[in-house]
């Protein structure tokens, strides 16, 4: 302890530079890109939260006329779409972007420009999705967009087209990002950082990236087919013309179920980083935690039809998908037991981050158990499309993903900003959020079993649903207040929070070696790693555990860095130059997608049709211009051309 505290006292010299738009908009630095992801996702989190509150106000009392049925439908569709695609996914990607290269001892992602392209394209997709509110109404068909409701005769506006193309853009961004993570983690590790020494957060990021590149293409194809239905009368999913509505469900959930693991696994990785640090113990059963993540990822691909028991697939299919779904409880249980065993007998420090991590475990268990009940076809047939399902996925997505993301936020905020968040305020926020989320979401179990269907915009009085609905609405307001507390905490801490040292939590992984916030090149000296806890072993050599070969290894060759942008030697490090091309490319694709939405709508007049062609043409020109510039940029930065 004493050694550690001695090291903690001095702080990194900070170079204060004035804020420059260019340095952000043209950035290829994984840390800045990570911050852009995090801030955008948080803004979308607030928007999605406001949508949720509007719905809860509507449902707080029976026969409410606060919202129209159509607006309510738009809100629940956009709430889900936002939270899944524009909040949890980019927040995971953003934190991963910031932390993963640091954790593996790299100076950036493998493809910095592709990384910038991903973040701008994600924002382009989010922009299209929200633009639809202003152009005649957002999509109102639910986030899984079941056929045939999505066909033009039932959804005549452009909302569904905006949804398809908006998600298409974020999908391309996600695939590009996932490829980047895969190559970074596999090919950019520091010397000695073997696969079996990687932090578990890195493990889960690479698992999720593989899930993503396997699952997303199916959704891309299905949504393109839906677009052909709507724009060119193709009828893939239109039963009236020989299409198949159930095919959409299979294609969607073949992507949709792996998608929920895309949402939760990185957060499980965060928890696996946070718990050992605040328990001052190594993670219990590292290999089991890592490989149970792989197992969950694999099983996630053979359970998709448990979302479809209501379609009446027949006993053999039902039996298979029910059994496979229940098997997922095993690797998930392995993880939970390992987390608990990590805390067991540890020197537990109940920091805000640790509280959120423990909150994650408890709430995720509730959501997991209700999930197992839903894996049983007879129970599912009773509960499907009821508030019981809504309760289930809010326990795993809010109680799981969001609480876990707050654990990660409090843990890594000092590294990202150089300032500590206020712990007292944070703990108060944790308790308020934990209680109010249970007040909001637990009664949904009861309402669901009492028969309240999901996706209804109002209900008659006298159904026996008034009390619980009212309590849920109250809970939402406290939940919103707890988020406001966090925003206040961030704003105040950024200005006047305690200055963070390199390693404020006495942690074990490489991101805590470098200054907070790290210089653009991350590591002045690339560390040489010899164990799973390189920083810990360097700080406390006498406690170095035997490695898995039973031999005591030499501590990793790392030292605290107090480097900054002007450190001697920093100039020698070649980093890729600023470029606007990734942003131009993303903008071009967004403009072309926007034009494509109106390319063949029979109801529209000639001017709009012409404008749509112009948009598509401009978009394509921008794409070609950007690709050309991109190639020239990358040639300028080429490692071959005299930079050594």
């Amino acid at each position: 302890m004493a050694i550690a505290e001695q090291k903690l006292t001095s702080t990194a010299p900070t170079t204060k530079e004035s804020f420059q738009w260019r340095s952000w908009l043209a950035t290829v630095d994984h840390k800045k890109i990570g911050i852009i992801y995090i801030i955008s996702a948080f803004i979308f989190f607030i928007i999605g939260g406001i949508e949720a509150m509007l719905m809860r106000v509507q449902l707080g009392t029976p026969n409410s006329t606060f919202l129209s049925a159509d607006l309510y439908n738009q809100l629940f569709t956009m709430h889900a779409t936002t939270m899944v695609f524009l909040v949890v996914m980019p927040m995971n990607v953003g934190i991963g972007n910031y932390v993963v290269p640091l954790m593996i001892g790299a100076r950036d992602m493998a493809f910095p420009r592709l990384n910038a392209f991903s973040v701008w394209l994600f924002l382009g997709g989010g922009f299209l999705l929200y633009l639809s509110f202003l152009t005649g109404g957002a999509t109102n068909v639910g986030w899984f967009a079941y056929a045939p409701l999505t066909q033009t005769q039932f959804s005549p506006g452009q909302g569904v087209d905006y949804w398809i193309l908006g998600l298409g853009l974020t999908g391309v961004a996600s695939i590009a990002g996932a490829l980047n993570f895969i190559v970074t983690v596999l090919n950019m590790r520091a010397p000695g950082m073997t696969i079996n020494r990687m932090p578990l957060f890195v493990w889960m990021n690479v698992v999720v990236s593989f899930i993503l590149i396997f699952a997303f293409p199916t959704f891309t194809v299905a949504s393109i087919q839906l677009l052909f239905d709507r724009q060119f009368g193709a009828a893939f999913f239109n039963p009236a013309l020989g299409g198949d509505a159930v095919l959409w469900q299979h294609l969607f959930w073949f992507f949709g179920h792996p998608e929920v693991y895309i949402l939760i696994l990185p957060v499980m990785g965060m928890i696996s980083e946070v718990l050992p640090v605040y328990s001052r113990k190594p993670i219990f059963g590292y290999s089991f935690v890592a490989f149970s993540g792989v197992g969950i990822g694999f099983l996630g691909f053979i359970v998709w039809a448990h979302h479809m028991f209501g379609t009446g697939m027949g006993p053999i299919a039902n039996g298979f998908f029910a059994a496979a779904s229940m098997v997922i409880a095993i690797p998930t249980g392995v993880k939970i037991f390992n987390w608990i065993a990590t805390m067991w007998g540890g020197d537990v420090r109940l920091t805000t981050s640790m509280l959120y991590a423990i909150g994650f475990i408890s709430m995720f268990i509730i959501g997991g158990i209700s999930g197992i009940t839903l894996a049983s076809p007879p129970i599912d047939l009773q509960q499907t499309d009821s508030y019981y399902v809504v309760a289930h996925f809010h326990y795993v997505l809010f109680g799981g993903s969001i609480l876990g993301l707050f654990a990660g936020a409090f843990y890594w905020f000092p590294k990202m900003t150089g300032r500590m968040l206020d712990e007292k305020l944070g703990k108060a926020q944790f308790w308020l959020m934990l209680i109010s989320m249970n007040v909001t979401f637990f009664p949904m179990h009861i309402l669901g079993t009492e028969g309240m269907p999901r996706r209804i915009y109002t209900y008659e009085s006298g159904m026996g649903w008034e009390m619980w609905n009212f309590i849920e609405t109250i809970g939402t307001f406290f939940l919103a207040f707890s988020v406001l507390m966090f925003i206040y905490n961030v704003l105040v801490s950024l200005r006047s929070g305690e200055v963070a040292s390199n390693d404020p939590w006495d942690a074990a992984t490489l991101e805590w070696v470098v200054p907070s916030p790290p210089p653009s090149y991350n590591f002045l000296h690339i560390p040489h790693v010899t164990s799973r806890r390189p920083l810990w072993d360097a700080k406390y050599p006498h406690t170095t555990a035997d490695d898995h070969h039973g031999e005591k290894s030499a501590p990793s060759q790392i030292r605290y860095e107090y480097s900054h942008e002007d450190s001697p030697g920093a100039k020698e490090i070649h980093m890729p130059t600023l470029t606007f091309m990734p942003m131009v490319l993303s903008a071009g694709l967004t403009v072309a997608a926007l034009g494509f939405i109106y390319i063949n709508q029979a109801i529209l007049g000639l001017p709009i049709r012409t404008a749509s062609y112009v948009f598509v043409a401009i978009g394509i020109v921008m794409v070609f211009y950007a690709i050309r510039g991109w190639v020239l940029d990358s040639r300028r930065d080429s490692p071959y051309l005299g930079h050594h």
């Binding site: 420009r113 895969i182 997303f216 190639v631």
Partner: protein, 251 residues
Amino acid sequence: MSSSAGQAHHGEAHQKPLVGSMGVDSRKLGLWAFIGSETLFFATLIVTHLIFYARTSNTLSSVGALELLDPRLGYLAIELTTVLATLLLASSLTMVLALAASKARDWKRFRIWQLATILLGASFVGGQIYEFIHLYHEGLKLAPAFEMHLSHEAHKALTALNLDPSIVRLKEAGEHATALVPSLFGVTFFVMTGFHGLHVTIGIIWLIAIYVKVSRFPESPENPMDIELGGLYWHFVDLVWVAIFTLIYLI
């Protein structure tokens, strides 16, 4: 995808600037993973086509009209598709020869094989456009029904079956007779092969870009890797056609 900073800044790897912790080139690893992802993209398109084709042929079989109206045998011409498959296969061969020439730093030979690849690819796309136009005139459209021209005997045989008009609707105008069959065959076929054609087109643009770049900077050390990456993508596009050729045109 065509470029990246690669390991422009990877640590103290002066000796081996190209190779990362996995011992491979980053761009090549990224491209292989992307190709892996694309297999699922095309698998989804193919399975959609197979499901709807099976449905059409089941319906037609159940009324005894499959012999006369099978859209695959009625529309897809084995001669044309064999030519297309051969063009693409030949372009794969010329591509790998271009790569071998580049590794031997024989830029003249590289340019010949690369141009040959581009031309063969362009002929494939041209052949596909011809096929699409031809099919459109034959009555196979991007619409949930196809309208097949019938011979006199076929028309007679179908009339004798006295079919439910929701399965087959016969039309006769003068000497020409057609059968209108509700089926997604045209939709799934055009979308699937169209997306493959789009991939071929992107591949051609990519190969042209490589050709231009290598011609302008023949001394750039990264040329063989640039060519190898374009080639990998090109071979994958050929690989998809290997599957489509058998699963769609022959079975």
